[in-house]
Symmetry: C2
Subunit: 165 residues, 2 copies
């Protein structure tokens, strides 16, 4: 149920358990130390908030929680922390939802793809390394030097697919 190895394609939806949260947070801290970036209190708390969330969170939702806990109350506070997390591989931005989600395997370099449920808005991160490689090659065939890709799929998660419309 909980295979985060890079070849596994899409993985499970449930990343909100406390065990996962703690483990992922620990990985993130290790990686931050190794790469010399500072996982400051706001940044760390923002990552925790994302990890505790069931789906992706909008910047203003994150801001609400942060300001309720005594951090800054204005949008840049949330956007700065979130952008830091995204730029350093601790979180991903979900374009379709204008929202952010914690990376489920921040310890390794990877290309991600996302499965977004139309019904319950759950977001599942999967590994898109092979898709990305194929796209880099297809793009290069027309002279385009591909740097990074956004892959977001919309449909029904397994939980919602079972239920009636």
């Amino acid at each position: 149920m909980t295979d985060h190895s890079p070849q596994s394609g899409f993985c499970c939806t449930d990343h909100s358990g406390a065990a996962h949260t703690a483990a992922i947070l620990a990985q993130a801290e290790t990686r931050a130390r190794e790469s010399g970036v500072r996982l400051t209190p706001v940044r760390r708390r923002t990552l925790e908030i994302l990890l505790e969330a069931h789906g992706a969170l909008g910047a203003y939702e994150v801001l609400e929680r942060l300001s309720a806990e005594g951090y800054g109350t204005q949008p840049p506070v949330a956007y700065r922390a979130l952008n830091f997390l995204v730029e350093n591989g601790f979180a991903h931005r979900i374009q379709r939802l204008n929202a952010f989600t914690a990376c489920v395997h921040p310890a390794r370099d990877h290309r991600a793809a996302f499965l977004i449920c139309d019904r319950c808005n759950s977001v599942t991160e999967g590994c898109a390394d092979s898709f990305s490689q194929a796209m880099i090659e297809a793009a290069s065939a027309v002279g385009f030097q591909l740097e990074r890709s956004t892959i977001e799929a919309v449909g029904l998660c397994s939980a919602c697919a079972g239920k009636p419309a």
Copy 2:
């Protein structure tokens, strides 16, 4: 230079020539007639505006042009026309840019992928039917019923890759 067949992967960047514009517009009109949707003046003009543009256009850019030509002056005018075009396969939305681009082959059913140049903001539409199929299968392996995907790649177009930074 101008192969729009569905197997060709990414195709050329230059779709702004008058010949292309006219041909694509004609295809769109044919398809609209066939599928019983109404390509009204605002909608048709909006599609022309997208076709004439070199890259993707934001809704407010489209609105500027429309209102300068005597159409409505308020955002819903542009958003309604653009949403109509997207829903009916005449245009695509580029999530990363909050912008819209005319579909280069509105005559056929297809899954699109986009190559977005970081430097000049050009947008190239390519065919992603095979990627999409592969993703549907990968998603189905974890019980996700995939409906549609957004695939957007960022990098340097062939024109910009040659130039100095």
